[in-house]
Symmetry: C2
Subunit: 165 residues, 2 copies
């Protein structure tokens, strides 16, 4: 997903474990399992919202999601309800909030806990992510060094993606 189309000299150390990158039905199943595993219910509404969220390549706003879920259900779903469920998804690691875009993105490997590094293209808006635990751990360490506790890193990079460059 994140490998570039060109050779390079990058020396970052990637996390030394395997991901199960899910997509489509497989992802939905993994999400359901993760949510149930967290002691929460997998309701129709949650299922629909997750499904819609997962179809986006770009970070989706709560209002985008509300619109699509409304269509899908043939009945208006208020942004309010969407926010509630997105918050739940974020706390249970089924989705992430992209702070610099005021939007959300499905976690393609729920159940697997990382500090993600998001790359968001300013031109086309698509977002991808990197898992580089060595790097994110350094950020955590720096914050803890400064006396912070319960740290939650927000690491995003805006720029031009390879396609738009």
């Amino acid at each position: 997903m994140i490998d570039p189309p060109h050779a390079n000299a990058y020396i970052g150390i990637m996390a030394a474990h395997h991901h199960h990158e899910h997509a489509g039905a497989s992802l939905a199943q993994a999400a359901e399992a993760a949510l149930v595993g967290a002691g929460e219910q997998w309701t129709d509404m949650r299922s629909d919202i997750f499904a819609v969220l997962a179809t986006f390549e770009k970070p989706a706003s709560a209002y985008d999601i509300a619109d699509l879920v409304s269509q899908k259900r043939g009945k208006r779903v208020a942004p309010n309800s969407v926010y509630r469920i997105l918050d739940l998804f974020v706390t249970t690691n089924l989705a992430r909030r992209v702070e610099s875009a005021n939007a959300y993105i499905a976690n393609s490997h729920p159940g697997c806990l990382h500090d993600c590094i998001f790359l968001i293209c300013d031109s086309c808006g698509t977002a991808t992510h990197i898992d580089d635990d060595a790097l994110t751990m350094r950020v955590r360490a720096a914050a803890e060094h400064a006396g912070f506790a319960q740290v939650r890193p927000v690491i995003e990079v805006r720029g031009k993606c390879a396609d738009c460059d």
Copy 2:
């Protein structure tokens, strides 16, 4: 500013250059110099907005600033105008936008270019920052490795500060 009240084993490599951390009038002067140096004007409005911004410990929203500047001038200043000037400040490095707070903070060493790492306390809202070029360069490198260009890192850490912990 960022040194913690406790001993530690942190091994991050800090930027090997000196900062002139400004405050108060000195900071305003430095800001003026930086803006003029960038070929922009230092107007009364810009001066007032910068002054107000600089009094905040916490990231300030454009609306906060609009309110205070309105008071100071005895005349309503629209958020619109504040945004224009904040955008200018951000592009000229006099201020930074804190994405995870939808707010702005004065750069205490304008003219000195860094990718800052912001630490924002979820309890009291205060923000501090770290300059660790070694670390931010790795983030840049990771993004460039993924094919991104013109990268602009957004590195923020939410958590509890030493005082609130």
